[in-house]
Symmetry: none
Subunit: 133 residues, 4 copies
Amino acid sequence: MSMTLEKAEAAVKAAKEKAVELGTLMNIAIVDAGANLTAFVHMDGAWLGSIDISQKKAKTARYFDMPTGEIGKLSQPGGSLYNIEHSNGGLITFPGGIPINGADGTVIGAIGVSGSTVENDHAVAQAGVDAIS
Amino acid sequence: MSMTLEKAEAAVKAAKEKAVELGTLMNIAIVDAGANLTAFVHMDGAWLGSIDISQKKAKTARYFDMPTGEIGKLSQPGGSLYNIEHSNGGLITFPGGIPINGADGTVIGAIGVSGSTVENDHAVAQAGVDAIS
Amino acid sequence: MSMTLEKAEAAVKAAKEKAVELGTLMNIAIVDAGANLTAFVHMDGAWLGSIDISQKKAKTARYFDMPTGEIGKLSQPGGSLYNIEHSNGGLITFPGGIPINGADGTVIGAIGVSGSTVENDHAVAQAGVDAIS
Amino acid sequence: MSMTLEKAEAAVKAAKEKAVELGTLMNIAIVDAGANLTAFVHMDGAWLGSIDISQKKAKTARYFDMPTGEIGKLSQPGGSLYNIEHSNGGLITFPGGIPINGADGTVIGAIGVSGSTVENDHAVAQAGVDAIS
């Protein structure tokens, strides 16, 4: 079990459909188990700044095998992981990044979505995950 | 006339088909007129180091509105653009990046391809360009 | 007295044993007095994002000759070292990095550990320090 | 088949023994299939600048699944891959990096060695590869 372009494109397709359903314009990135980029799309008119954020969310989710928002809870001022975002060339720790598991439960990659509220970003990422898990 | 995800995906699809025809495994990146990433795919088993190179080729081609290989002729020792690769966070100036023109001839973006010989990289990039020009 | 590979490997070995005892998967880095990397190990299945964090913790501890968590107390909003993490290519200031002293009390390097809670990270780092101090 | 710390440490041990046999002081790095660092050692007195070079050699060898010196033949002035070193945050394309294959022939990672002549660097890297292939 590992990330493939076929799986990545299925996740991107499902995420785009969810983005349309929510009336949002998203950037969607998929990374493999090594946190290397497998697929990316920028929906027409989506925020340019979110091109990088979506990729950093995907990497962050794979780097720690948890949704990015979980890390963000711990990286606040006074939190146990305060300013962890300075590592790894820059992390993004608010919602929108989710690990992707293979059939045997191992992490095979992650999806990162950016372009709307963090709630919408997370929902679109989850749609991508659900399409291939 | 501008780059759209629909055009970018059409270019990626044509490029992938050409890659398969040539028996190669490619990384394919499309950028828009602002040199921002619009779409990217990593074919299964393609070189990991070419993820970055394909994106840098696309950006380089749009930065100077010419095929990357043309810039590479001028960036050699003694050439007029010697070591231009140090700019813009790193350029790639060997073949595989080609600007994409809109119907009115203005540049709307570029494609960058990396994963095989520079001749194959260029041929696959050209197939992407031809699909939407 | 200075850091040697023999000492670094003894510290890594002790840290790994503590990590196993705690049921954790850790990244462990040792730097010398010049804050240069002497030894590093990534335990199988440990977080990929912690490869960089463990090294940044070790460097941070040596840069300021104190446990990373002590710096983190001062880098909070309103604190005297607010956002010091922006320096030196990125610091990590939560627990898990500890200076290592030679027999005469001078600092000869530091250890950085990342892969679990900051309490576990610190405990594993301390085990490494204890093995060679 | 994938890189493990046990394999990485076996490769490092064999490489160190070869370095001693050759009377050299080396930095030795192992990366996994995702080009992430698995193990690293700096022999006492080895060049500090080679800490980074050994890691970049290992990454370069995995990025393109070939010995780094092969890439260097093509990245010379006038060569087809001139200045490829500007990609991926910096590549090293002279000898000393070699891919590591698993039992089924797939690439599971790479070793990078730096600290002496490129001939010695390559020989030490090869000793590491031979120990676990």
